[in-house]
Amino acid sequence: MEKVYIAGIGQTAVGELWKRSLESLSNEAIQGALKEAGKPEVDALYAGNLLASAASSQANLGVKIATNSGLDGIETMTTEAGEASGAAALRLGYLAVRSGYVRTALVVGVEKYTDIVGSSVENVISQTMDYDFEAMQGLTPLGQAGLLMARYLDSYHPPREALGALPILAHANAINNPYAMYRRAISTDAYHKAGLVCDPLNLYDAAPYADGAAALLITSDEKLSQTAEKAPIEITASTSTIDALALHDRPDALAFSAVTISVQKALARAGVSWSEIDLFELWDAYSIFGILSVEACGLAAHGEGWRWLAEDDHSPKGRLPLVTMGGNKARGFPLGAAGVYQAVEAVQQLRGEAGANQVDGAKTAMIQAMGGPASNVITHIFSKL
């Protein structure tokens, strides 16, 4: 089996990018990743995307992207795993390179939700749930998060404002990320006073949908990954685990059991323990997801995740830094592209390119994306060589 290295990264600023197309965003990220790797020959382009079919009427997206970027005659396909689609593209790229069949691949996460407007947005986003038995009752992903949060509050009685720790951290970190959508801090007070969107979930509990593209150049060619400027990064684990789509189809909705399995497998594959993980880009699509994730990871007991997040230091200088470049909450949440943004940010940290948010001596990073409320959990571990 080949080892798999990350030799280049690229990303666009995240936001509501009305003027840009799926392929134009992709190209900006691709050119960034190609340039870093010295413009090598590319065998494949794997596109992670959730909405192009429903929102932009464009299937076979990888072909559209490749043609626009002058990548003729290569291999492409699109991967979809809900909001974890970008992470799925990374996993496909990892498998393809590891298998020896593909030497060098571009992994592109791209999303363009502003090709549609109005309440249709809720409809296309609701595809990530069980359509027949969740969406057809008028539920949305925001509503799923509201249901989880209500149950959590009722079960464990944390102080309501303590649940704001993760969004507050995310906003503090995004200030130093030039690609982030919201580069401003929010206070505990502002969090507490924020309007309810799905009672008890408030405006700051939900990451803002956004457009954007991020790209990775991955390769089995170790030389390609190493230059004077940057350390080679190896992908040391890649795992993917599902739970039911619908919350009602799970024995315990608060368990996020796919997180538990995915993380245990990833740590075993990489041969590391939590104490060796220097930063964790967890999935903060909703603040309650972050809480349930750290509990499912075993970082905190069930019912204690809110406390672990609120009372420990998870800033870039803390014991286990989280959402170091702003996470989905403040970097912005480009849905199917977000998993590749997480990967780009982890590489920035491992290379020592994270600026004011640099985690000192970061050698090993875990990133984790979710489709739905941990319906599909994809975990990767990267290590600096």
Binding site: N123, D132, M136, Q137, G143, M149, L196, L201, H248
Partner: protein, 132 residues
């Protein structure tokens, strides 16, 4: 236009009809082809009583196309007395304060307008507080 699938799911939506596993007697809703308890083939219809209690609930202030008229609406995870949990709107709340654990009973109501010019109305289960 989604007429074929609404028609396909009509029994499940109108009558809260799921399945009972012929191998292990697990009661299943929504219906599946394979029993989640024992892995056997599940095909025997079972009509649920519609009695249950609220596992969790939230209030929707934005809705997808077809649900806007009911805004704001309350949606819940309802734990049925027979075992399974179901996602559904709460209705006929009146002055009742919704609480986790509250007993509820299934009723049939309009749940959605299909989004084309024909404006087809789709009916199905909602849950209301159990009176007295």
């Amino acid at each position: 236009m989604e007429i074929p699938r609404h028609w396909r799911l009509q029994k499940q939506r109108y009558g809260l009809v799921g399945e009972i596993c012929p191998h292990c007697s697990a009661k299943i809703f929504p219906a599946r082809d394979v029993c989640p308890e024992c892995g056997g083939e599940a095909k025997e219809p079972f009509r649920f009583s519609g009695k249950g209690s609220i596992y969790s609930y939230t209030v929707m202030n934005n809705a997808p196309v077809g649900f806007e008229r009911g805004l704001p609406y309350t949606i819940a995870l309802v734990k049925l007395d027979e075992g399974p949990t179901v996602t559904a709107q709460l209705t006929d709340l009146g002055a009742n304060k919704v609480e986790i654990g509250m007993p509820v009973q299934m009723v049939t109501r309009r749940i959605k307008e299909d989004g084309d010019e024909r404006g087809m109305l789709i009916y199905g289960y909602k849950f209301r507080p159990v009176m007295g």
